[in-house]
Amino acid sequence: MTAMDCSKARSLLPDAQRGRLSQQPNLELRAHLDTCRACARLDAEERTLSDLLRSRLARPQASPAFRARLAARLAVPNDQPKPAPKRSGWLRKHQVSVPLALAGALAATFLLWSRATPVGMNNPVLREAVNDHLRVLYAAHPIEIENGGLHQVKPWFTGRLDFAPDLAFSGDDEFPLLGGAVGYFIDRKAASFVFKRRLHTISLFVFRAEGLPWPREPQRPMAHVQAQVGSVNGFSFVLWRTRDLGHALVSDASTDSLLQLGSKLVVAR
């Protein structure tokens, strides 16, 4: 095996840090970083930069008022005048075609939008859980550590989170565990795990629950804990807390399936 030079190593760092590098080049890169102080420093800086961007860069959320205004605009039929916007925005200033465009396309969207903004989505915890599940579905590489058993997955989180995820269920034939990753849940780090249920992808997010506005959905027993169960935007969810940790299961699988998996998760603890 030829030793890797600095130029090659640096070109591979981005893919390695995003979990997109195959095993052999990754091993060669690790060997180079073990011996090259400058490249190891760059690796550390890049990781620090990624961490800073993910944890500290403001990620503004659309306000409920904007969300509602957008929905209302889309819901107003063609022959009804819309109220004038309160401020003089770029759209109005430049007469961009929102009202005209929407009028033609949206005669039948009232039901769509009323369905797409259910009460539950106004809760930040639920909204984040569903959005994070969508990120898992859309991400090219949602898993950073493949499941090789809990003895492999759980230690991987050490040093990457400020808490220990209380996962003790490593999957079974019914709910195979594919792996895990570190992500963010609203303003804090979270462990995310990906399970399968036949063709359905199920996301489990574990995060510190302190200070989060927990939704007020009705509670149902799930093994020995009380869980909040429901569905928003076509996704089922099950939320529960144990001590200071919050847990969110989200999937397009049925709520019964999620309750089954949730029971296995809490019983195995």
Partner: protein, 181 residues
Amino acid sequence: MSQLEAEPDVHTVASDALAHLDALYAFACHLARDQALAEDLVQETFARCLVGGRQFTAGTNLKAWLFRILRNVFIDLRRREGRSPIRAVSDVPDASEEQVRTLEQLRGDVEIDRLRRLVAEDIQAALHALCDDQREVVLLDLEDFSEQEIAEVMGCAAGTVKSRLARAREALRARLWEYAR
């Protein structure tokens, strides 16, 4: 695949698109650096999405498609303002490879810890000091898009994304080191 899947219903596309509202809004805020303007950009993005929803190919990445629309809306805005759409010059010069290497050798773990203590305002200021195309590529990378997806959003080659991202992050690090001193 059925014909229905091949030609998606515009309402279904719009419904799915709403799930990306926060991501689109955050991207728009960092592009426009103004929340009111960001709302306008997102609003126009949804309008174009609804009008052109049938152009979306089922099974491809809806989020990337929406981000491409939003970016085009932003470029249109720049053009209306008479500004070059994405070629504004960054005020952070590129360091030569030799300079970068020398700097790296000087920095110890203690100094990297200084980077870690930077606050949100520093990170945002450094990001916003980048030129538009560099800021875009950093933000799209943060959204976990692949290089190919970023290339499709930005309308360039995947190789261009790689080099552009490397230069953007290098400029970001240079700026943040200044703040961390």
